[in-house]
Symmetry: C2
Subunit: 202 residues, 2 copies
């Protein structure tokens, strides 16, 4: 949960799911009734948990706490803290007995997914998870068309390692060819475990 | 990482590993050269990661952020935030292709481990992980004698469900009988994956 309610009722996400450290203002995805990718995935994970399908959680936003006050007869208040870069991906858990690990990102681009959405350490982490027998993937939202794809982390890793010599993004036709289009709906909003089934369990 | 450096050089843990929400003052475990259980486990996990043995991380401390300021030309500052109760256990990851999930707690008691160290939702979470084929366990430190045990979560769950009628703690002889004593040393400090091997892979 990284969204909070201001007293004036406005919602504002604390971290963007594009991986940048600095919080951004809430952007409204018109294709998706104003829900951020993170909110949609949290709802989907709640659905999977309640229906005993999988146990997958978003990790809390890492925060470096510098100063805490302890008022008498009320909760401790953090008075100074900073956003930290996460050392892993945002989501992990268990599905069908397998370790699941993924990152979710979105772009307004229409024909490719920019690699700058990822961090070096996330690529390393996903490579290591794959090597240890886990399922590591990314969920990519093309927000302009409201399309979602699930792609194995090795595709991202391959383009990542080649970007010095080559293009700085993954072409959409490569994502369409190697990945699985994710169905979206009401509940679960983003039914990504169907895509996991298609990619890894079929 | 929930410990931070005050300007005066004193270290203070932000959350206790005893599961309470309110931060406590740093307690020095004389049996263990002043390292908290969490610090020891983080070091052990670093060792496992660097040696490509397992990928296990502590989840960041969950924080409810209420107010953030965005000064020009410097990092966003969280000016008001509160500690939240975690919805899962503190640690998870992958080892030998299996999903690993655990909670670490310590007590000064000598003959039993008080169940008040756990929360209802943690017991449910570990039960669910077990049902989905993951390895869910707890690491218990008896700080007075500096002994560490790894115990399957089902032992905790069994005592938890019985506590209305019965005792409010797990007797140490039950932990010794059902669990595995963890060897401690320099690197890794708490070699709990040896105990995982003995309990689940032998």
């Amino acid at each position: 949960m990284t969204a909070f309610q201001y007293p004036n009722g406005k919602k504002r996400p604390i971290t963007s799911s594009t991986g940048s450290l600095a919080p951004k203002k809430a952007s409204i995805s018109y294709g998706n009734r104003g829900m951020t990718l993170e909110e949609d995935l949290n709802k989907s994970n709640d659905y999977y948990l309640k229906n005993d399908i999988a146990i997958i959680h978003k990790k809390p936003t890492p925060v470096q706490i510098v100063h805490v006050e302890y008022p008498k007869r009320s909760a401790a208040v953090i008075k100074e803290a900073y956003f930290k870069l996460a050392s892993t991906t945002d989501y992990n858990g268990i599905y069908k007995g397998r370790y699941i690990d993924f990152e979710a990102k979105e772009t307004k681009n229409k024909t490719s997914f920019p690699l700058r959405n990822f961090h070096e350490h996330q690529i390393h982490h996903m490579d290591a998870v794959t090597a240890h027998g886990g399922l590591a993937f990314v969920i990519l939202r093309f927000s302009t068309t409201d399309e979602h794809y699930l792609v194995d982390s090795q595709l991202v890793s391959t383009y990542w390692k080649d970007q010095e010599n080559n293009r700085k993004s993954i072409p959409k036709n490569s994502i369409e060819k190697e990945g699985i289009r994710i169905k979206t709906g009401i509940s679960p909003r983003i039914h990504y475990l169907q895509a996991v089934d298609a990619l890894y369990f079929s």
